[in-house]
């Protein structure tokens, strides 16, 4: 993980990497039922923070 990832341009510069990228792109979706309910997590988190710190 790196902060610089947010800023720098990420490029694929060689054929081998293109092939790997293509392989992943054309592979079946791995989407499954999300393990967490994002909306619920945010809603309950904000509620708990407000309760604790009266935001």
């Amino acid at each position: 993980m790196a902060t610089c990832s947010f800023d720098r341009k990420i490029e694929i510069k060689d054929k081998k990497a293109v092939n790997k990228f293509y392989e992943v792109l054309t592979s079946p979706s791995e989407k499954s039922t999300p393990k967490y309910d994002a909306d619920k997590e945010i809603r309950e988190g904000v509620k708990a923070l407000k309760k604790a710190f009266c935001l």
């Binding site: 993980m1 947010f6 293509y22």
Partner: protein, 169 residues
């Protein structure tokens, strides 16, 4: 709240703690990324903000050099366009656990699952096919992401010694 960010430490990768302490709020204000913190609920009930882990998400383009791909392959990759150079991805730019928390208490897999659940939600609204991480070239880290269905793409020859891994959504 910002004071609590100082209690987050990650000696194995100081950039992870530095981002949370010094940069994430600025990035949030500029809409460059969104950071989600995982809080100890029991301590929060005692009005103590204890950060167990966090992750930051952003949008990122992955650019493919023109000469590397034929228009036909480009169309196959993009789905429509023979001139597509940029492929939009969801970037997990930061993901970390507080050093004071054990893997048993908060497995890295759980933080990653939470991050991907949030990306899934964003994808429902805006589309997108790929999640990308830009991480240290470290066997243990690579093994962790591979175990979670990410595939190694390439290494970047930069001073940060980073690699890219991706997975489809």
């Amino acid at each position: 709240m910002i004071k609590s960010f100082d209690s987050f430490s990650c000696p194995k990768n100081k950039d992870v703690a530095d981002f949370l302490t010094n940069k994430c709020i600025d990035f949030e204000k500029r809409n460059k990324s969104r950071t989600y913190i995982i809080i100890d609920n029991e301590k929060l009930e005692q009005k103590e903000l204890s950060i167990l882990g966090y992750f930051s998400l952003a949008l990122k383009s992955l650019t493919i050099y023109n000469e590397l791909v034929s228009p036909t392959l480009r169309k196959k990759m993009d789905g429509f366009c023979t001139e597509a150079n940029d492929f939009e991805t969801f970037l997990i730019g930061q993901l970390g656990r507080n050093n004071s928390v054990t893997n048993k208490e908060l497995p890295g897999k759980d933080i990653l699952n939470m991050a991907t659940s949030f990306i899934d939600r964003a994808q429902e609204f805006v589309g997108g096919r790929v999640i990308m991480i830009d991480c240290e070239d470290n066997k243990k880290i690579i093994a962790f992401y591979e175990a979670n269905n990410f595939k190694y793409i390439q290494k970047h020859n930069t001073k940060e010694n980073l690699i890219q891994m991706i997975k489809t959504i």
